[in-house]
Amino acid sequence: MTKRASDVSASPPRRRSKYTLAPLVLIAANVVLFSLFFVWPAVIGLVYSFTNYTGVGAFRFVGLDNYQNLFGDSIFYDALGRTLLYAVLVVPLNFALSLLIANLVVSKQAKGATVARVVFFIPWLISPIVVGVLWRWLFGENFGLINYVIEQLGGDPIAWQSNADLSLGVVVMAGAWWGTAFSMLLFIAAIKNVPTSYYEAASLDGAGPWRQFVSITLPSIAPTSFIVILLNTINAMKEYPLFLALNNGGPGTSNNLLVQYIYQTGFKTGQIGYASAASFVLMLILMAVAIIQLIVNRRMENR
């Protein structure tokens, strides 16, 4: 790549492109890392997805067999469906919570915002594994604080662990709780960049706080909203440690997500080729999500 590139930059005698060596030296480390750990895996992953490779020894090309098996595999569909459901639940929840909190934190009305901001930040510092442990401790069916409080209030203990949907619900709460801080940080920066004159003009026109939020804040921070939703969707689609520590993808295998599926087929049963095919399907989904969001974002901006 670099060889071809330097030819291109050398041929037209443009003023700024006389500096070739310096930028090349500066990006060299990342170019090497990019080729080693992104290009190379992507290429061999694509090749292996058409083979029956198991990680060692010889392999032969099996055409589209892996993909065909994948689309006939009900476990894969379950994992895919569960992953999408998780993303559909956790992304809006995270979005709403972090936007609300960011607004409260920057508003001059709320007292103690500096301290509260640190509190909101603490969950983000905890690793997904420990977040899983923490929520498992909180929502334990027989020993958790939540069920204890429910019982004290006269209710029946809730099957947070043995009911698949409730179990997913706990992970959604945990995921939103963990991810709020980062989204909040982005929103705070965006909200602070909205010119105050907009709000002054609007309040002179008699717009209340809610109206100001809908008509000024939301449109002004639209690019940030886009990034927050995109990043959170990608993160939700590849979630694994949180599930692992919270309920081990359970009860049973009901909450096994895509990355767990890839991990298990690739490393537990050694079907590298098959796992690579699943990886590519996941990658295509991620790209589709990104492109759809990009298109929606463009539409909204042009409106």
């Binding site: 983000w124 609007a202 590849k238 694994y240």
Partner: protein
């Protein structure tokens, strides 16, 4: 937006400027607004803080008291036995040293590589630099969790299996880091570079002598982010490391969770210990994270 709404809906900020009755009414409204905003903020803060508080308080309970009813918020006989058990039994001290080593080395490399790349992307104008920028952005679409199997094979073929190098090197390139530095160097005026060139400075020494020193705040922000990412990494170290002496803290904790009968006393102690370094780093450097305009940021 319309002027048809009644004046009582006027917002507190603008009402302050208006004289008489109206302003008094509005200031009462703003008091109500302040009270409700503060209440809402602190209810939410409680929702975010209490799980952590309960977790930490529980970790001070002796193993026998963890499940004894009625559950109490404060431990009756606070003890550090869970911590001691975790520290000794699960080889935690070794895990800590390993994780700290990996985090520090990766963070230094990430900051260095990102600073160089970000500067090149911001201050040089070449077709292939633009192409490389697109490549870096594309890596966010291709997280290592997705390329698990092939990336494992690559690292294995490089001879890095079961070594810290196998965890460190694939994690050095991050889109977020390059992006943050690029955005920062775009705000540095080109005249600064031009002036140095006229003075006869060479390209790389302009970078090292002028640009690196002024980018210190970004370095610190990225360092904290990178430290957080690497401290919390789980899947990749798990795949790469085979030797229990090289395990990281997260693997150690997950092995406690994965046990047939979870020893909650040890698990709580170990988990809380694992949280301490990041929270300490954050509290010391929080203004670099809080004020960071990582708006263009992409998360790793």
């Amino acid at each position: 937006m319309t002027t048809t709404e009644a004046p009582r809906k006027i917002d507190a900020d603008s009402a302050r400027a208006l004289p008489g009755k109206r302003s008094r009414r509005a200031s009462r409204g703003s008091l109500r607004g302040a009270v409700s905003a503060t209440t809402l903020l602190w209810i939410l803060a409680a929702l975010y803080g209490l799980p952590v508080l309960w977790f930490v308080l529980s970790s001070f309970k002796p193993a026998g008291d963890l499940f004894s009813l009625p559950l109490t918020v404060l431990p009756h006989n606070p003890t550090l036995s869970g911590y001691e058990a975790a520290w000794d039994s699960a080889n935690f001290s070794q895990y800590f040293v390993n994780t700290a080593l990996v985090c520090v080395v990766t963070t230094v490399l990430t900051v260095g590589a990102s600073c160089c790349t970000g500067y090149a992307l911001a201050k040089y104008d070449n077709k292939w630099l633009k192409f490389f920028f697109l490549c870096i952005l594309a890596t966010t679409m291709l997280p290592s969790e997705v390329m698990l199997a092939p990336e494992f094979l690559v690292v294995r073929d490089l001879g890095l299996y079961n070594s810290f190098g196998g965890i460190i090197l694939p994690a050095v390139l991050t889109a977020t880091g390059c992006f943050m530095f690029r955005q920062f160097f775009l705000t540095v005026p080109d005249e600064l570079v031009e002036a140095a060139r006229i003075d006869g400075a060479r390209e790389l020494s302009i970078f090292l002598r002028i640009m690196v020193p002024i980018s210190r705040p970004i370095m610190l922000t990225l360092a904290i982010l990178s430290f957080q990412w690497r401290w919390n990494d789980y899947i990749w170290p798990l795949l790469m490391l085979n030797d229990p002496d090289k395990f990281t803290v997260q693997i150690g904790i997950q092995s406690l969770v994965g046990a047939q009968n979870i020893n909650w006393s040890v698990l709580l102690g170990g988990s809380v210990i694992s949280m301490i370094p990041l929270i300490a780093v954050f509290l010391v450097f929080q203004r670099y994270v809080m004020s960071a305009d990582i708006n263009a940021g992409l998360k790793d």
